[in-house]
C-alpha cells in the first residue's frame, strides 16, 4: 500500500511538471501571445516614408500600384497593399515578396481587376517577415 502511494505521488508530481510544459507549448505560434514571452515584434525599419502611386488606363481604372520608400532592411519580407474606398471598404489588394533591395526598395502590384481610381481614397499597407 505504501508503495502504491509512493508511485501515485511521484506520478502526480511528474504530471504537474509537464502540465506546465504543456501550457508553455500551447502558447501557439499563431496565438499572438508571444508578447507574454520573450519575443519582440518590430518593424523592419523606419516605414514612415512608405508611399504609393498608381497608374491608370484611359478609362480611369487602376492598372498598377507602385510602392516606394521601403527600407532596404525589409528585403525579402512580404508586403501587402489594399486599395481603400469609401467607408474603408477594400476595393482590391495585392501581395508581393520584396526582392533584393539596392539603395532603395520598391514594389509593383497589378491585377486589381476593375477599380476606378476615382473611388480609391487611400492605401493600407502591411509588412511582415522575419
Amino acid at each position: 500500500m505504501k508503495l502504491l502511494a509512493n508511485i501515485l505521488g511521484l506520478a502526480l508530481a511528474v504530471a504537474a511538471t509537464f502540465v506546465a510544459c504543456g501550457a508553455a507549448a500551447s502558447l501557439a505560434l499563431g496565438s499572438q501571445s508571444l508578447s507574454a514571452g520573450s519575443a519582440a515584434v518590430t518593424a523592419c525599419g523606419g516605414l514612415n516614408s512608405l508611399t504609393a502611386t498608381r497608374n491608370v488606363s484611359n478609362a480611369g481604372n487602376v492598372t498598377q500600384v507602385n510602392v516606394g520608400g521601403i527600407p532596404t532592411a525589409c528585403s525579402g519580407e512580404t508586403l501587402s497593399v489594399t486599395l481603400v474606398g469609401a467607408a474603408n471598404a477594400s476595393l482590391g489588394s495585392g501581395t508581393a515578396t520584396l526582392g533584393s533591395c539596392g539603395a532603395t526598395c520598391s514594389a509593383t502590384f497589378s491585377s486589381f481587376g476593375t477599380v476606378s481610381a476615382a473611388n480609391v481614397t487611400g492605401y493600407s499597407f502591411g509588412l511582415a517577415g522575419s
Binding site: 508511485i7 511521484l10 506520478a11 511528474v14 504530471a15 511538471t17 509537464f18 510544459c21 504543456g22 508553455a24 507549448a25 502558447l27 505560434l29 508571444l34 514571452g37 520573450s38 519575443a39 519582440a40 515584434v41 518590430t42 518593424a43 523592419c44 516605414l47 514612415n48 512608405l50 508611399t51 504609393a52 502611386t53 498608381r54 497608374n55 491608370v56 488606363s57 484611359n58 478609362a59 480611369g60 525589409c74 519580407e77 481603400v84 476606378s116 481610381a117 476615382a118 480609391v120 481614397t121 487611400g122 492605401y123 493600407s124 499597407f125 502591411g126 509588412l127 511582415a128 517577415g129 522575419s130
Partner: protein, 212 residues
Amino acid sequence: MRRLAIVVAVTLGLGCSAAFAATLSVGTWHLWAGSQTLRKAQCTVTGATDTYADESHPTTNNSASTTLAEQPDANKRQWIYLQFDLTACNIPTSGGADSATLSLFESSAPKNASRTITLAPVQSTWPANLPFATALALTYGTSTASFATGTTNSVAIPITVTADVDSFIKSPSTAFGWRISDGSAPVTGDQAIFNSSEAAANKPQLVINYEK
C-alpha cells in the same frame, strides 16, 4: 519498481517533446501596418499653347489663328498641336489623374461622314510657328485617346485623355501636349476645324479630377 521506471521514462519523453515545441523561436518577426490617405480635387485649365502645321503652307505661322484645322489629304495634311500648362493646378508628381477630359469646340465638322481623330503625345518641345517639316521630324508616343468628329458644326466635343494627363502629372518635364490628326484615308470634305485658344469663346479646355 520496474513498472514505475517505465512510467517515468515514457512521461519524461513526452514532456521533453512538449518542451521542445515550446522553444520554437518567435522572437525575430517583423510586423508593421500603415496607411496613406489621398486627397481629391479638380482643376480646370482653359486655353493652351496651340497651333497647326499645314503641309500646303509649310512655313506659315498659325499660332495666332483663332482656329485649328486638321485634315489627312495628301500634300495638304494639317495637324493640330495643343499643350496645356498644368503648373497652376499644383498637382505633385506623386499625384495622378482620376479622370481628365479635353473639350474642343468644333466650329466646322467634316461634311459627309464622321472622322476618327487621334491624339498622340508629343515627345519633345515644338516651336509656336511650327513649320510642317519640323512637325514631321517630331517624335510621338503611343496614342491612347481618340474621338469622332461627327458631322455637326458648332459643337463641343469631350475627349477622355486620362492616361496621358496622368503621365503629364507624373512627369511634367515630358508634358509636351498632343498632336491631333486624322490618320484615315482622305475623302472629300474631311477637314475639321476647331476653336483655338485665341478664339473669343469656346477655347480648348482641360478638366482634371485628380488625387494627391
